[in-house]
């Protein structure tokens, strides 16, 4: 079977560039309007994208007033979008540290049922101390503790999603049996963090389990992803870094006995597009000029865990300001590593660095023609650096439309991206199998009636 490229539309505010909302043609007045994101999802569906995706932080992203930092809850928004779309996948971020597994299992089960099998869960453990303080936690658990909890959380949720076998519903009017009690299972989970009896209060969803997505690139994050994730959103600036990441993840997955083809690596890509490269760069510079340095600096200081106010905007950033890659991995702070790599490789001034990060928070930002961007996508895809991309337009909807109208047809002509949907679920778009229930064939059931 030919490998097919996957494309997700990462929906985010007025666009992924932090200053995009200040562009005169931005949709900032509609940024919280469900019809705005619904139209974006419909455009992504018309372009045959695999899915749309919302990040999430349950708190204000930054306590600065310089951008639309409010985050509406993503699962409810995707439920509304599901009602106005037919085929596109719907991926929401939710935290294993800040949710209860029974509540989360229900929310995603419901999304999968009401969308006829299009739900995906981007599993995060939450790195934000400010978010923790919204949940009666004095501080976040350590990264190791968070990942240990995440693994148990995931195991509980998986058991709950599997607790009704696929053929448990009988709906037999004559006998009066609605379900077969031998096919609905108490999970009776007793673990270090959770004790959950089950079963889930819903039949098995169309995909069996919503798709498991993950985005951590730290050592702990990679280990978790290799064991559990079916799609990985990741940030890389170069083909070489991305390929090394993909090879590492797929070989780790194989060690867990998994098929590496069922672990999709999807780097972020934020493209300024123009009829000429010069036009694209001009747009990029226009938006970069709209950034508020105090905002970017606050983000950077949070990432570095250090005061950077002594640096001048036009001074070259000293390499030591962001530590070395080795330390960073041990610190579970993969985004910091991306920044450290930029600082070491490109020696930018502080202003240049702020502009680089303003584009998409460390994801790969490019400016060029549709042909140039299609060539980059094709090269990364063919060189094994990416199974697809998490498409992060700097400005919505304009730069999504430019991607859909300019880049997508080139990828379709080259035969690496679908011209029509061939499946109806997110698993089918991604080429992932539908898992059997853990309990299939197990006749120890929840009910005794």
């Amino acid at each position: 079977m030919t490998r097919t490229l996957s494309l997700n539309a990462f929906l985010h505010d007025t666009g992924h560039h932090e200053a995009s909302w200040r562009h005169p043609d931005s949709s900032v007045e509609r940024v919280h309007d469900i019809t705005f994101v619904t139209e974006l999802a419909q455009a992504a569906e018309a372009a045959k994208f695999d899915g749309v995706f919302f990040a999430d932080i349950p708190g204000l992203w930054a306590a600065t007033p310089y951008r639309p930092t409010a985050h509406l809850e993503p699962i409810t928004r995707l439920s509304a979008i599901a009602a106005k779309t037919e085929r596109i996948g719907l991926i929401a971020t939710a935290s294993t540290t800040l949710y209860d597994p029974y509540n989360l299992a229900r929310l995603f089960s419901s999304l999968d049922i009401l969308s006829d099998g299009r739900a995906g869960w981007n599993i995060v453990t939450t790195q934000s101390e400010a978010a923790a303080r919204n949940f009666s936690l004095a501080k976040l658990p350590s990264p190791d503790e968070r990942y240990a909890r995440a693994q148990e959380f995931l195991d509980v949720v998986t058991k709950l999603w599997d607790s009704w076998e696929d053929d448990a519903v009988l709906a037999d009017r004559d006998s009066g049996q609605y379900f077969d009690p031998e096919k609905v299972h108490a999970i009776n989970h007793v673990g270090r963090f959770y004790q959950v009896e089950g079963a889930l209060a819903a039949p098995r969803s169309p995909q069996g389990r919503p798709v498991y997505v993950q985005a951590g690139s730290s050592n702990s994050g990679r280990a978790f992803a290799a064991r559990n994730a079916e799609a990985i959103f990741t940030a890389h600036q170069t083909l070489g870094d991305a390929r090394a990441f993909a090879e590492d993840i797929k070989s780790r997955a194989a060690k867990f006995g998994r098929n590496p083809d069922h672990v999709l690596v999807l780097p972020g890509l934020s493209a300024f597009l123009g009829d000429t490269e010069a036009e694209a760069r001009e747009l990029q510079e226009h938006v970069n000029a709209l950034t508020v340095p105090a905002y970017g600096l606050a983000q950077l200081e949070g990432l570095a865990g250090a005061d950077l106010s002594h640096l001048e905007l036009d001074e070259v950033v000293p390499v030591e300001a962001f530590g070395s890659a080795g330390n960073v991995l041990d610190n579970h702070r993969s985004r910091l590593q991306v920044v450290a790599n930029i600082v070491e490789r490109d020696r930018p001034t502080l202003r240049q660095l702020l502009h680089r990060l303003a584009g998409a928070r460390g994801h790969n930002v490019v400016a060029g023609t549709p042909l140039q961007v299609a060539d980059l996508i094709t090269e990364w895809f063919e060189e094994g650096a990416a199974d697809g991309f998490n498409v992060m337009p700097p400005l919505y909807p304009q730069l999504f439309d430019a991607f859909a109208e300019g880049v997508v047809p080139l990828l379709q002509e080259r035969g690496i991206f679908r011209a029509e949907y061939t499946g109806s679920t997110l698993r089918e778009h991604y080429g992932l199998p539908r898992p059997d229930s853990l309990y299939a064939g197990d006749r120890a059931a929840v009910t005794t009636a």
Copy 2:
């Protein structure tokens, strides 16, 4: 201003009669299909209902296979329904014992934003021990403890919904200020159960706060409702009981300094309708005959907390089996009181009692013509026993359609129910004020940037 009747459509499985799914014309094959409940909501909107409502138990309702006891998650379902409706209110049940307040505040804020101001929250503390065992709780907190937690939970959620003042969003492209930091407030809640910094990660929603709905009728439940609820779903079999309840609640609300007109009392009403009373009764008897006694008996034993297996189906139920009303109130078990009242007043056989409860779990079940039902509604409304009704059709959609086509026009002719919507939010439908933010005018804000 003329008082206007309120009508909610309580959406529940194939209908509120527990055996409705076995009716040959039931929609049991579509019971989990979002298009089924969406069509019901659209029908309720066409009939100018105030809202639709989902109950919720985060667990299997009963570990018996005799009815569609699976409960899909209601907030996600209402988010999908919001996308396909324009005006009708959307009320979801969620538990203060089993949710975290920040997560819950976000879910309802998002529902209110994406529905343009139609969200309501039915606040429950959860009475089901089986549900507690799905949430890593060895057992439920005591009723007093649950209500203490519920009050603090509600206070936190209210502060979060108010944490962005109505005019906090500036979206000022020129200055680069997206929001006014003086109008976004850390709530800094430090309480017995919760510590929550805030602010909410979302602007204030269209209604300011989703409508507070409550359904408990125990002493603790009444006190909580009188202090907090804006609409109360309640179960009464007689006008007298309902009026006593309404008078009690409204006088308690007045003691909290609240306007009694802003506390709507909405008893449940489940109507078998026919062109003649005989036809309606025939349909009721047909559906009653489809009940599975073992199912109803298990429900009744759970309610009574006693083994009733020694009773014969055609034996009159002894009064002492359900205690006295006095004890029941002290026990916080208001549904049991309804049953005790039926047993004491009507002296039914066990079979008759099971049929009574099969209709709508203790809510008022009637059989008659549209004129008879319209007369009952009008009488209860005019006598102060109800500000409206929670309409619980025994069989969806047939008996909802009969209500919409037969009963609603009579109520409209009498001028007690709207012929067209006059408002666009649930608060407006209910005649409730839009609350100001607690923080309006308070200049101590979350941000220092």
